[in-house]
């Protein structure tokens, strides 16, 4: 029989420490929907999504009951829409976003990702039109998420795209200003975008994927924070061990759910994304893990080292627990979605410069950071360029999801509600990046030897 302590430990993780499956995301290829007849394309997309993911929500609910573990989000990711629309104009892309929204509503899912483009080296006419359509598409839908990959380690940084995305981010903020610029929470700019990421807003179904696939994102910062707290004072070798063991257990649950979801939905199992994804709930914070390691406040000196160790130990523990790992896999640091980050930002311990340093050692990047509403497009592009450069040079994924909250300034805060949480507006450097951003062209791909 199972060990009593093990059973109680699992139940405690779920009940007290917010262990959950963050998302089951079904990736759906839309390449077979391509048609030169607009109406036919829209119908085919709607039909393919609603048919492929028909049982997704129901299956997730069944799994939730059977295994007694909450499954927070059910999502769909699709082939980057710029590849499906190709020669569309911006208006037609906005209409396609509407089709995705309708399909998402029909399925009852939380989000649909993939309204995006891959422009790391250059921009096709279709990709350019899609990017043009992003602000209106995000303002007129609630579930559609957009991601644009502007750089890769192999291609370098497309600085024209970086410049454009600063403008698009600003326009999106303006178009959704009556809702505190919430549209920007659904827009991410990437370097080295993964093709199998189940997390939003950056999920898309890559070109090398099968027709449909199930990817699962685990969570559990609360479980890791509690395990570290329980362990008490110990050295770093021991600490890494505690994190690895915990990450292993969390990931095993993800593996079970992914395997079962894939079997029940008759869809191939893709990957587990080993991420520590926080929520604004008390006891579900990545910042609190770092603070439990001995930092007075997240953001102080030592934070980058603590996060580097956490991220590495989570991967080491998780990799053994799952047969296929992918996506973003690491600790997320979305400011507004993490109670500890919010508190650290409010008291001034956590600044955007420190967050940038932290992204060099963890998953994703500058995430859910509210910045002053009067931030210029070129400053936004400057922030994007910095973050993307970290990813390109270090051969990792980085991303930027900033919210320039129109009408608000430093000292004020913004409430997004639900899983998106709330955030103080963070101050930015006041000096201009405009001339730099206006140069255009590409920053060449980095050299892969002489690594320093």
């Amino acid at each position: 029989m199972l060990n009593t302590n093990d059973i109680l430990e699992t139940i405690n993780m779920i009940k007290q420490e917010n262990l959950d499956i963050r998302t089951i995301t079904m990736g759906i290829s839309l390449l077979d929907c391509i048609s030169d007849d607009r109406a036919r394309l829209e119908t085919k997309i709607y039909d393919k999504i609603t048919k492929s993911a028909r049982d997704l929500v129901k299956t997730a609910l069944d799994l939730e009951h059977t295994y007694g573990i909450p499954i927070i989000n059910k999502r769909v990711s699709v082939t980057p829409i710029s590849l499906v629309g190709a020669d569309f104009g911006p208006d037609e892309y906005v209409r396609l976003a509407g089709v995705l929204e309708r399909a998402a509503n029909e399925l009852g899912i939380n989000f649909i990702g993939g309204f995006g483009a891959l422009v790391q080296k250059g921009m096709t006419r279709g990709a350019s039109a899609l990017i043009e359509a992003i602000p209106e598409a995000l303002a007129t839908t609630t579930k559609v998420c957009s991601s644009v990959n502007v750089a890769s380690t192999k291609a370098g940084i497309n600085m024209d795209a970086v410049k454009r995305m600063g403008e698009i981010m600003r326009q999106t903020a303006i178009l959704t200003q009556d809702q505190d610029s919430i549209g920007c929470a659904k827009l991410v700019v990437f370097a080295n975008i993964p093709e199998d990421n189940p997390f939003m807003a950056g999920a898309m179904h890559g070109m090398g994927e099968s027709d449909t696939v199930i990817n699962v994102g685990v969570s559990g910062p609360g479980v890791v924070a509690s395990a570290i707290k329980r362990e008490g004072y110990c050295d770093f070798s021991r600490l890494a061990d505690v994190i690895k063991k915990t990450a292993f257990k969390i990931t095993r649950v993800g593996q079970l759910i992914a395997y079962e979801a894939s079997r029940r939905l008759n869809t191939p199992y893709g990957i587990i994304d080993l991420s520590l994804a926080p929520t604004p709930a008390v006891g579900d914070s990545v910042a609190h893990i770092l603070e439990n390691m001995g930092l007075e406040k997240c953001g102080t000196h030592g934070t980058t080292a603590a996060l580097a160790m956490l991220n590495d130990a989570v991967k080491k523990g998780g990799v053994m627990a799952s047969s296929h790992v992918g996506g973003l896999s690491g600790a997320f640091i979305p400011v507004s979605e993490d109670a500890g980050m919010i508190s650290a930002a409010e008291c001034g311990a956590l600044t955007i410069e420190k967050l940038e340093a932290m992204t060099a050692v963890c998953s994703v990047g500058l995430d859910m950071i509210a910045v002053p509403g009067d931030t210029s497009a070129s400053t936004l592009s400057g922030i994007i360029a910095d973050e993307i450069a970290i990813g390109v040079i270090n051969n990792k994924t980085t991303a930027v999801r900033l919210i320039p909250v129109i009408g608000k300034d430093v000292g004020e805060s913004v409430e997004f509600g639900g899983l998106l949480g709330h955030a103080p507006i963070m101050p930015l450097n006041k000096y201009s990046s405009e001339e730099f951003i206006n140069r255009g062209g590409r920053i060449p791909a980095p050299i892969h030897s002489l690594r320093n």
Binding site: M1, N3, D6, I7, T10, I11, G68, K249, L256
Partner: protein, 89 residues
């Protein structure tokens, strides 16, 4: 298929009787029980066989949860595999 029923809460008379009666009602066979009382707190773990259940897993689960609410106990029914995968390599 086996499930694990866990009952956690303040100790009182008849907890096992109540849960066992529900199992019998649903045609659920009890395979093993362990229980302990730590400082007034009662923790019972029951391994049950649910293949010949007379109703759905979800309705059994709901019924036991309702009993838990009535008696001020936290009662959960979970497929045994979540524990097996998490704690056994």
């Amino acid at each position: 298929m086996k499930a694990v029923i866990t009952v956690i809460g303040k100790d009182s008379v008849g907890i096992i009787a109540t849960v066992s009666a529900e199992c019998a009602k649903f045609g659920v066979n009890i395979v093993d029980i362990t229980q302990s009382v730590i400082q007034d707190y009662f923790a019972m773990i029951m391994l049950v066989e649910i293949d010949n259940m007379s109703s759905t897993f979800m309705s059994f689960q709901k019924e036991l949860e309702a009993v838990g609410v009535q008696k001020n106990l936290d009662i959960r029914v979970m497929h045994e595999d979540i524990f097996n995968t998490m704690h056994r390599i």
